[in-house]
Structures are given as C-alpha cells and as structure tokens.
Symmetry: D2
Subunit: 338 residues, 4 copies
Amino acid sequence: MEALVLTGKKQLEIKNIDKPEVKPNEVLIHTAFAGICGTDHALYAGLPGSADAVPPIVLGHENSGVVAEVGSAVTNLKVGDRVSVDPNIYCGQCKYCHTDRPELCENLSAVGVTRDGGFEEYFTAPASVVYPIPDNVDLKSASIVEPISCAVHGIKLLKVSPYQKALVIGDGFMGELFVQILQAYGIHQVDLAGIVDEKLKMNKEQFGVKNTYNTKNGDKIPASTYDVVIEAVGMPQTQESAIESAARGGQVLMFGVGGPDAKFEMNTYEVFQKELTIQGSFINPNAFEDSLALLSSGKLNVKPLMSHELDFNQVDDFVNGRLGVVSKAVVKVGGEEA
Amino acid sequence: MEALVLTGKKQLEIKNIDKPEVKPNEVLIHTAFAGICGTDHALYAGLPGSADAVPPIVLGHENSGVVAEVGSAVTNLKVGDRVSVDPNIYCGQCKYCHTDRPELCENLSAVGVTRDGGFEEYFTAPASVVYPIPDNVDLKSASIVEPISCAVHGIKLLKVSPYQKALVIGDGFMGELFVQILQAYGIHQVDLAGIVDEKLKMNKEQFGVKNTYNTKNGDKIPASTYDVVIEAVGMPQTQESAIESAARGGQVLMFGVGGPDAKFEMNTYEVFQKELTIQGSFINPNAFEDSLALLSSGKLNVKPLMSHELDFNQVDDFVNGRLGVVSKAVVKVGGEEA
Amino acid sequence: MEALVLTGKKQLEIKNIDKPEVKPNEVLIHTAFAGICGTDHALYAGLPGSADAVPPIVLGHENSGVVAEVGSAVTNLKVGDRVSVDPNIYCGQCKYCHTDRPELCENLSAVGVTRDGGFEEYFTAPASVVYPIPDNVDLKSASIVEPISCAVHGIKLLKVSPYQKALVIGDGFMGELFVQILQAYGIHQVDLAGIVDEKLKMNKEQFGVKNTYNTKNGDKIPASTYDVVIEAVGMPQTQESAIESAARGGQVLMFGVGGPDAKFEMNTYEVFQKELTIQGSFINPNAFEDSLALLSSGKLNVKPLMSHELDFNQVDDFVNGRLGVVSKAVVKVGGEEA
Amino acid sequence: MEALVLTGKKQLEIKNIDKPEVKPNEVLIHTAFAGICGTDHALYAGLPGSADAVPPIVLGHENSGVVAEVGSAVTNLKVGDRVSVDPNIYCGQCKYCHTDRPELCENLSAVGVTRDGGFEEYFTAPASVVYPIPDNVDLKSASIVEPISCAVHGIKLLKVSPYQKALVIGDGFMGELFVQILQAYGIHQVDLAGIVDEKLKMNKEQFGVKNTYNTKNGDKIPASTYDVVIEAVGMPQTQESAIESAARGGQVLMFGVGGPDAKFEMNTYEVFQKELTIQGSFINPNAFEDSLALLSSGKLNVKPLMSHELDFNQVDDFVNGRLGVVSKAVVKVGGEEA
Ligand SMILES: NC(=O)c1ccc[n+]([C@@H]2O[C@H](COP(=O)([O-])OP(=O)(O)OC[C@H]3O[C@@H](n4cnc5c(N)ncnc54)[C@H](OP(=O)(O)O)[C@@H]3O)[C@@H](O)[C@H]2O)c1
Ligand SMILES: NC(=O)c1ccc[n+]([C@@H]2O[C@H](COP(=O)([O-])OP(=O)(O)OC[C@H]3O[C@@H](n4cnc5c(N)ncnc54)[C@H](OP(=O)(O)O)[C@@H]3O)[C@@H](O)[C@H]2O)c1
Ligand SMILES: NC(=O)c1ccc[n+]([C@@H]2O[C@H](COP(=O)([O-])OP(=O)(O)OC[C@H]3O[C@@H](n4cnc5c(N)ncnc54)[C@H](OP(=O)(O)O)[C@@H]3O)[C@@H](O)[C@H]2O)c1
Ligand SMILES: NC(=O)c1ccc[n+]([C@@H]2O[C@H](COP(=O)([O-])OP(=O)(O)OC[C@H]3O[C@@H](n4cnc5c(N)ncnc54)[C@H](OP(=O)(O)O)[C@@H]3O)[C@@H](O)[C@H]2O)c1
Ligand SMILES: [Zn+2]
Ligand SMILES: [Zn+2]
Ligand SMILES: [Zn+2]
Ligand SMILES: [Zn+2]
C-alpha cells in the first residue's frame, strides 16, 4: 500500500510498504482523512511533539477512517465502523494514569508520532483509542476531532457559566474552535482578538463573535474585562495581554504552546487582588465523546474552517510553509468512501 | 394606584391603595409584567408556597419593571433601569446562608408571598434581589426569569456534558424550559415525554427535541437509556419512570413538586448497580445572571411559550382554572412602556 | 504451588497447581494476604459478584504481595516491589471507559472473580492494577485496600466539608471504615448507628465517633439532622432511615447493596423541600492511591478492625458462616515475609 | 467605654468614647480578644487594607466576644452568645454578589477597617457576619477565625486529595495554619519551606510536617515535586520558587500578597507542559463555619501559634515592629470572661 514516510530529518518519501498486521487489542483502519498541524512541522524538522518521532515513521496523528479488521480481543468495534482516532495512548500503569490524569502519563505514546499514523492507506491503533462516529458526522470533520478535543479538554478545566464574557486571543484554527465551543457550553458573549481581518470578520459574521480586536492594527483589548480568557497563540505578549484583560475573578486558559525558554510576567499583587486562575492545558483526555457530540448536534461546525484538502504530494509544501495562509489542512487519503 | 389584592382565602379584589414607601436598601419598581404560576393557585387557596401568604396581600412573585425610585443605601441601581426581580429574600444570618446554600435559608421571605408583589402598579423590593436586564431582553420575557432561574439552578446541581443524552418528563412550562436550557448548556440530545401531542410536536419542530413520548397515548419510555433525566411533573409514577429510564451512571433531577404525602419507590439494588444520582432542586439561588444571559444570547427563546397575557380582571379566571390550557400566563400591568 | 480452588458450586479444594505464566503486560505476585468478604460468600454459592465466577477458579480479590516476575511491557514495577492489587480490570474501549466512568465498564473483569485471584501462592495481574505500597504500610493492611477504596470512591462522589455533621448507618466493616475516612477528609462530627454494642463502643472510644445509636435496642436516630449520611447496610429500612435522618441540603450515600427485588420509599415532597442528594456508589475507580495515602499518613488505622487471620483450611468455615462475628478476615497466604 | 482610636496617620490614642448604638440588623458585642495582623500595620501607616480606613476609627478586624445586645431584626443570635466576627460585609447588590463570588464585592466594607472594630470594649456588627462558636472553642482561638478562614477559602479553591504531596512556602502565621489545615483536609504529606529554624523544627515535631527547607540557610527545594504548593510569603522569588517546585499536574495557590509593582515570571512552556494551575486567593467567603469546625474537632490547634497577648498600650509597639518575632498577637480586650 502507499504511504508517506518520514525517512529522516526533513525527508518525506511516498513509498510502497506492507499493510500492517493487527495485534489482538488493535484494529486496522482504512484511512479516510488525516489532519495536519504544527506538530507535524516540528516532527518533520526533527523536533519533539508530545514525544519523539524516530524515522522511518509514518506521521499523521489526526485521523478518520473505516475499520477494516479487528483483533481478537476487541469488543466494541466491528469491520465497517466509521471511526475517529485519538492518537494518545496512555500506559495505565503510572501514577498519573492511576489518579485520573492520564494526559500526564509518564509513558505516553502516540499514533502518528511514536508509531505509524494516518499518512498511509491503512494504519493500526489500539481499540481503546478508536471511536465510532455518529451517522451524521462526516469523515472529513471526524479527522480533526483530536484538535477539537484539546479545546474541549481546556474548557473542562475551567468553570464556565452563561453569565460570563469570554475573550479568545488568537485567530488561528484553535482560536476559531474555541469561539464556537465556548458558546456551545453556554457562554453568552465571546470576543476575538487576532491579526487577520478576514478571520475576525468571518467569526463575527458567521460564528457569533460580538467584538473583535485586530491587535496588529493597533486595536487595544480592554483591561480587566473578561471572565474567561483563552490564550491560543503561545507568545509572551499575548499571554501577558490575556492576564491583563481578565476581570476580577477571571480564569485564563494558557492553551498556546510557547518556546521552551520564553517567559511571561505576572503582577504579584494582581493575581491576589483579581483572584485569578491561570490554567495550563495539555492534550485531550476523555474528550472525544464530547467533541463528537458537539459535531453531531451541529453546535460546532468545522467545515468552513477546513481550508485545504491535500494529497500526499502536497504535504511537503505544507511542512515547508509553501501553501500560504492555512487555517486547517487535511490530507485526503481514502476520502469519504474510504 | 391600582392593585389586585388577596383580601382573604379565595378573595381577589382590585383596589386603590397607596404607592409603597421606599426603605434605604430598597427600590420602587413601576411594574411591567407579572408572571403567574401554580404557586399563585396555592396561595390564593390559602395553601403555603415557599412560605405563607397572609391576607391582605398583593401576590405576584415573577416580576419585571422599571426602577422609579431608589433608597439611600442602594448602590447598583438607578431610576430608569429596566429590571427583573428575584422574589426570594435570604436572611444572611442562618447556617444555610453562612454555608453558601441560601436557598435553604431558615428565614426565607419573598416578594409576592410574604410582602406585596407585582400585581399592582408599583411595588418595592430590596436592591439585592433586583437585576438590571440587558438591552436586548424585553420586559415580558424578563418577568419570568424566576422560573427560568429555577431550571438553571437545577441544571447547575448536575454535571452536564455534551456527550450526554437527556430526557425531560413533563411537557408543562418548566419541562419546555428545560428542553431549551439543557441544549444551551451543551447537551447534544434532548428527548421529551408528555401528554399533549401539540406540545410534543412544537418542541420537536421548533426547539430541537429529537424523540418524543406521549405516555398518555401509550408510548413507552425506553428503560436504562438516559444520562440525564429531568422529572418536571411531581407525581410518583413519573418519578419512578424517571429513575427507570436513567442509564447506568445516570443523574435524575427531581424537579417536580409532589404532594406532601405521596411516595415513590426505588429499587435497592438499582441505585447501587446503576450508580445513580437522585437530586432534589429547590428554588433559584445565584441563577438570575445566568438566566438573563441565556435570554440575551438567544439560546433561550421564551416568547413562544408565553401563551396568555392577562389583565387584573382575568387573574381570577386563571386561579380558578377557567382559562383552559395555559402554558405560561403573565399579567400585563404596565407593559413594555412601564 | 498450593492453591484453594473453587471446583464447583460450594466446593473448595486445596490443590497443587502450576505457577501461572506472565504475559507481557502482567506481573507475577507472591501472595502475602488475601482479604475475604461477602462477595466471596456469593461466588462460593454460585451467585454473581461484580461478574460471574466460573469454576474451576481461584477466588481472592483483595490481595497484597511481592512482585516475583514482571512481563516485558511492564514499565512501573520491578521484582521485589511490595504491592496491593485492585481486582477490577476495565476494558478501555466502551463508552464508560471513554467518558471517565470506568467503574461502569461494559466489559468488567476482575482478579479473583473472572480470573484466578489471591487464594494461591502466586497469582498474576495486569500491571495497570498493581500498586506499589509506601514503606510504612504493612502487607496485611495493604490486602484490604480494595474495600477501603470503595469507601473512598463513595466519599469522592459527595461534597464534603468540615462544617458538616455525618451519620454512618451500619456497624459492619465498611461502616467502620467510613467512620475514620469521613474524619480524614475533614468532617468534624461523625455519628454511628448499628446493632452491636461493642462495635459502637469501640468506635466511640477509639475512632472519634461522637454519638452512637443502637437501633436494635430501640435508639431512635433523630430526623432531618445530618448533612451527610452513609448507608452501609443495604436494607430498605436502613435506606429509608438514612433519608429521614438527612437534614435539608443533605447528601445520602447509598453504599449498601440490597437484594435485587427490594425497594425503599422516598417522600415525593421531601426530596424537593430538603433538596436532597441520593447517591449510589459502585466499586472503586481511581481510589487506590488515595487509600494508600490514608494508610500511610496514619489517618486510617485498619489493624484493629481486622479480626481474623485464616489459613486455606478455614476459608470453608468462613464462607459457611461458622466463624461467628467476623469484622474483617484475611487469609494469610505468604504473610509479611511473602 | 475604653477604645484604642486611630486618630490620624500613625497616631493611636486610648480614649473614652460612647458605647455604639445597635441598628435593627446589628448586634452589640462585648469584645473578648482582637487579633492583630499585617493589615493593621498598613492601616496604621495610612495605606489601604481590603479598603481604606479613614481616621478617627477603631481598628481590629479579627474579633471574638459575647453578644451584649441584639437589634430588632436579628433572628439567629441572642444575648450571651459567644461569637466570632467575620469583618467582611458584602453589599449583596453587585454582579459579584449576584454570581456567588461575594469576596470580589464591588462595595466591600469591613469591621475594623471602614467601621469601628474590636480595639474597644464594645463594638457592633451586622448579624450576618457574627458566628456563634461551639462550646469547646475558646474565645482566644475564636478571635483569629478570620485568618483561618482565609486559608480555608484558599484550600477550597483547589482540588485536594489524600494522595497529594504538598509544600508550604513561608513559615509565618499563615504558612503555619496551612500546614495543619492541608492535613485536616486529608493530604498525606506536607513539607514546609521557611527561614526560621525554630519554626521549621516546631512544625516538624508538633504539627506533622515531613521535610523542611530553610532556604535562607541554602536548602534547595526540589523542582517539579509537589502536587499542591501554597505560597504564603508574597515575594517574586518565593512565587517563582512555588511554580518551579510544582510537579506536573500541580496546583499553586498564590496566597501571599505582594507589592503592587512587583512581578514574577513564568515559563511559557512549563505552564502548558506541566498543565499547571496558578490560583489567586482573596479573603474568606463562606469559610467561617468550616474554620470553626476545624477548631472544634481539634484538627486545627492554634493556641501554640499565638505568641503574644497584648493590651491596648502595646499595640503601638506592635505596629511599629518593637515586639521582635511575632507569630500571632492578639489584644486581650475583655478576655475569656468578656
Ligand atoms: N494545549 C494544547 O493541548 C494545544 C493543542 C493544540 C494546539 N495548541 C497550541 O495552540 C496554539 C494555537 O494553535 P493553532 O493550531 O491555532 O496555531 P496557529 O494556526 O498557528 O494559530 C496561532 C494564531 O495566532 C495568530 N497570532 C499571532 N500573533 C498574534 C497576536 N499577537 N494576537 C493574536 N493572534 C496572533 C497567528 O497568526 P499568524 O499565523 O498570522 O502568525 C495564528 O493565526 C499554538 O500555540 C498551539 O501549539 C495547544
Ligand atoms: N424545584 C423547583 O424549584 C420548582 C420550580 C418551579 C416549578 N416546580 C415544579 O415543576 C413541576 C412542573 O411545573 P410547571 O410549571 O411546568 O407545571 P405544569 O405546567 O402543571 O406542568 C406539569 C406538566 O406535566 C404534565 N403531565 C401530567 N402528567 C404527566 C405524565 N404522566 N407525563 C408527562 N407529563 C405529565 C401536565 O399536563 P397537564 O397539565 O395536562 O396535567 C403538565 O403539562 C411542578 O411540579 C412544579 O411544582 C419546581
Ligand atoms: N458500594 C460498594 O461499592 C460496596 C463495596 C463494598 C461493600 N458494599 C456493601 O456495603 C454494605 C456493608 O458492607 P460490610 O462489608 O460492612 O458488610 P457487613 O459486615 O455485613 O455489614 C453490614 C452491617 O450492618 C449491620 N446491620 C444490620 N442491620 C442493621 C441495622 N438495622 N442498622 C444498622 N446496622 C445494621 C450488620 O449487622 P449484622 O452483621 O449483625 O447483621 C452488619 O454489621 C453491604 O451491603 C455491602 O454489600 C458496597
Ligand atoms: N490571600 C489572602 O486572603 C491573605 C490573607 C492573609 C494573609 N495573606 C498574605 O499571606 C502572606 C503571609 O501572611 P502571614 O500573616 O503569615 O505573614 P508573615 O507572618 O509576615 O509571614 C511571612 C513569612 O514568610 C517568611 N519569609 C520571608 N522570606 C521567605 C522566604 N524566602 N522563604 C520562606 N519564607 C519567607 C517571613 O519571615 P520573616 O518574618 O522573618 O521575614 C514570614 O515569617 C502575606 O503576604 C499576607 O499578606 C493573604
Ligand atoms: Zn501512564
Ligand atoms: Zn438564611
Ligand atoms: Zn470499559
Ligand atoms: Zn457586592
């Protein structure tokens, strides 16, 4: 079968490799779509994602497809099931797995990072990370449940309530997901700060955003205003701006991932006097079912955010930044009929 | 000014009485609309509501209006503010008020129950129970924030998540509110059981309900199916049916108010094996701001549920059940221009 | 090696069987102590526990021991580790496993129920259910972390706070555990209702209980008094008494397991007016680390509650009720030196 | 009656003033003890506490005493009640009071700050902030329920569990309270970092601390180690050290109050990768009943921490730092017999 293999640092090759064999607790999946994101840039460049990717390896950690074969110990899936795959595999043995915080697992492995992922016609995954999808959810949307579930996990770390006013900082794909998901959880007002006018406009016109700030154009975010602030960029200045814009009693989700040596500053008195919560968020435990439900109920509409549909040949362009502004790209492997 | 006074058991009279005086911590409100509900039936008939109503008294505990005068100690309201009034006044001194459960206050008093309410042109209330409303919320909808906030309180007692399937039992006004509010909090599927075909149909066509059951017509609610069940009737058979329809891990909100001597049965083994939560719900603490936010964001649309707009003369018909099927009636006192 | 094998309904035989082989994700444990409880009565008699036990099988689902061998995929354990074993094995694939409620797993299996347990010199278990114990916790106490963790799970389902007054109904082993654990979680007053004077006395004198009620002797539990009530018997009359003794705002944990056809009654009005929470509790997810910490810190002292230390020959006496009053019996297999 | 009056900036005078009059919702209290803390230093020097103190005023915001008179609207107190007084008075009208976050009240006033406090023989307070104390709690301990309740509030903002390892940074009075209270809430291991050897030693020998670090003497706190970290100093270096010592999944309570212009730094990547929670804590809502319960049950023993008992004449020495090392000083106004 055809596969896009990372054969070395910054080396991607389309190759013909063997279909993988299924272990007792695994399923074989005929790939439909495989999302592609910033982590893939990093892995391509030889940098670690949630873990190291050691070539030769097939990337692709945001996947959907159709079950083609099930291992002997699999109980909840059958051939023909349309599925979305959570890349993250928890060890079940460490202190974090034992205290209901599996995302912090000491032995995390991942489909598309430490084992072959979705940039190939068929891939395998343990049944425990494979989720059947509702009939009314398409396989393209289902390929990006992984990033959706990261946002859902972040929101579940906060206390959200309809009376709150929320601000999302960052008009990238994650910021746009938060815009919709915050509303789906009941929050009555969501504002958006970003740097791309078209994005801000689209979110105001189509996705219920009330106020937008283009900070590149000099818009100022009002200070001490928001009950919930989502930082979805990962730069010190946006992190400090997130804290500053938080109202007394505010909760700031530090969702963006910054450089390992970058630092941001907090005012010693402000954290007390505003009684702030600053909350980190790491990947996506226990969030796939909620994410699929948001898609199924129509509260979350991701199709308009999926800007590019690539084939294997174009992945190289993507990871080298030759595709221009990409909101969200997916690789069409088998497609809906997969 | 004109007032509808309960002058004795089952005696309502339209009278001309003095405008009330404002104490330092109170405001005077020019009444716009005053909702009317089952509690008013009870008070009219000399039965207790959340407390006893001792005639002569002006009923009306679901009120909206415009601030006409503010007491000297009032800080957060001014003349002209459009407001909704929470009837419940907590003492602040008892053990429940001291442990963040004010709804269980040992010295509860209430506007429209223990002191004059909204069935008069002007009424007073302590500033602490008076809520300014958003510009885009109309005064008619604002008059029924009290029942809305009871439903919101009930939902806040549960753990709700998009993946859950919910069932509402009861197609009265409260049941209909729950249908919308459960979805506003993110739940992806809400089903409705009731006894009136038109109601069931309307909720399916207009308010996102997926499956309906007319139990009067013999429809059976499937057993062990729902993650969240709202009982909004208050009869033993619907309470038992609520428990039966709950899935393993299910939460059942016992929202309906039953007769003082009625009893329902639970299976000793089922509560363990399903790991059920059976949760009572009492009035509406800390829920007005959320309720107003739900109205303001449009997630909750109550206008289609408000079937009757009465004047003082018709209240007698209402409390004597001469108006036919009433989903929700409000008394138009001053109206939007109030 | 020696094993006590359930060879058929009500047939226990001491046999010499092969040491089990270790699979990649498993460890072999040299058994120290194996607790024995009501579930073993049931399994012996051919009734289901959390699942069915199909003879020939070695019972024993409350186990401690020393790791004797580790499989190739085991990361967090090594030979010589002193351990306690959680019997419950979750499938990881079902909707309950996927929504953070593994205790409700649709494919639950268990050491000592569906696979050989601790009534033998060596037994195996998946590494994911094997917990290293702190140095200052003895292997005898470690053998009963399973029942401790059931109580801990129950308490985690409630909202506990120091100001609360708690009542435990049931002076059996579980009731006695709750007496100590409620205090360990901060609750300032715990009362105990039971039927055995010596037990009540011991808990008052040694374990901080304030008031006791011997309901067999006619003591009446005061009504509407307790913020937290733990029902640890499982009979309709104690369940109804639990609800009756709950104060307004009270939480009742229905921990006792009743007969499949028994029913208890609740007052329709009381659940509303008291705003009660009735909470079922099922086994022990994510509770082993907390339980071990309670033992290690000395907040929980179980040695005085462990009344009997048996050898294989006496198990038959136990399951046939020939040992008299047993608070908690453990089978000494290898003992501390295991 | 005798009173210690702040007559101007840094001017304290013992004066004979009139006994205050009781308003309908107030009680008159015969002062027993009045605690004295860092806030009093600030107010004495003309700096703001939770609010501004405008001379002439009687300070003293940590008070106990005996009810001497009750206003006409008071329902839950009577003459002779032994009481502890929460200084903080919430307006009940603002958006924070309306959304269950009264500590952030926009119109906060306080006994001993904006109105006369306990440094006088008799003072008044609204009945809503006056708490009867259990019989077995002495009036001296009861005078410091205010700081205790600040610590309790802080802990209630976290998720605490027995399995966690906690570190307290700061061996002042608040740090010492946290040492005991964390254990009272079930946490199995508490370590303490400070700068005074005797304090560290006392907390290890008497109050269950396991490891201590004297950072002044060069002890290093291990990095990435603690599940819960309480910062109870308020300086940038201790705040940064708090974050550094937090394990993955760690929660850091920023309890110390820093200078208005001080700043501390956080690593952009660490907040994500450790999935940290940084939580501010502001005063003490809804925490008096829990605090009194902790004293009553003996889980919290504050007498050994109360180093000084002063009379009015010595307050001047205290606020000018002439008393040497003070762990906790109280002014004995009426004393136990009060
Ligand atoms: N916590 C988690 O589990 C998790 C999971 C997924 C992603 N993340 C992180 O979340 C962040 C967002 O992810 P993404 O996929 O949306 O990445 P992205 O598409 O690169 O989005 C970042 C966006 O922020 C914009 N931006 C740059 N400077 C800004 C500023 N000053 N103010 C507002 N917006 C600004 C960027 O614009 P330009 O593109 O024009 O620069 C970009 O559109 C990343 O840091 C990612 O690593 C975290
Ligand atoms: N917990 C609280 O704080 C709180 C607050 C407000 C209200 N409540 C309670 O909530 C309940 C509902 O209030 P509501 O204002 O909606 O009253 P309602 O209008 O009388 O609604 C009850 C509805 O249930 C219907 N019903 C009767 N039998 C039924 C059955 N077997 N299955 C399904 N539906 C059935 C009734 O139909 P018919 O009218 O045709 O009989 C009616 O439409 C009442 O018990 C009320 O006291 C509680
Ligand atoms: N939810 C869970 O996950 C879970 C886990 C473990 C156990 N359980 C259940 O918890 C319950 C207690 O377990 P256990 O091991 O402690 O069993 P147990 O030792 O049999 O305890 C039950 C105790 O209650 C006493 N009792 C009987 N009638 C009573 C009454 N009217 N009032 C007060 N006490 C009365 C019994 O006395 P006599 O022995 O003299 O009759 C016995 O001491 C059982 O139902 C068990 O199945 C539940
Ligand atoms: N959040 C709230 O609601 C709230 C309420 C009450 C208090 N607080 C704050 O909590 C903090 C502690 O209060 P407190 O009453 O305990 O004050 P305190 O008695 O002054 O305690 C601070 C202690 O930290 C010690 N310290 C100084 N540098 C240190 C270091 N590098 N490492 C460890 N310890 C160090 C101080 O020692 P020396 O005295 O020798 O310098 C002092 O003993 C203060 O910032 C206070 O404002 C907050
Ligand atoms: Zn792990
Ligand atoms: Zn009260
Ligand atoms: Zn499962
Ligand atoms: Zn306020």
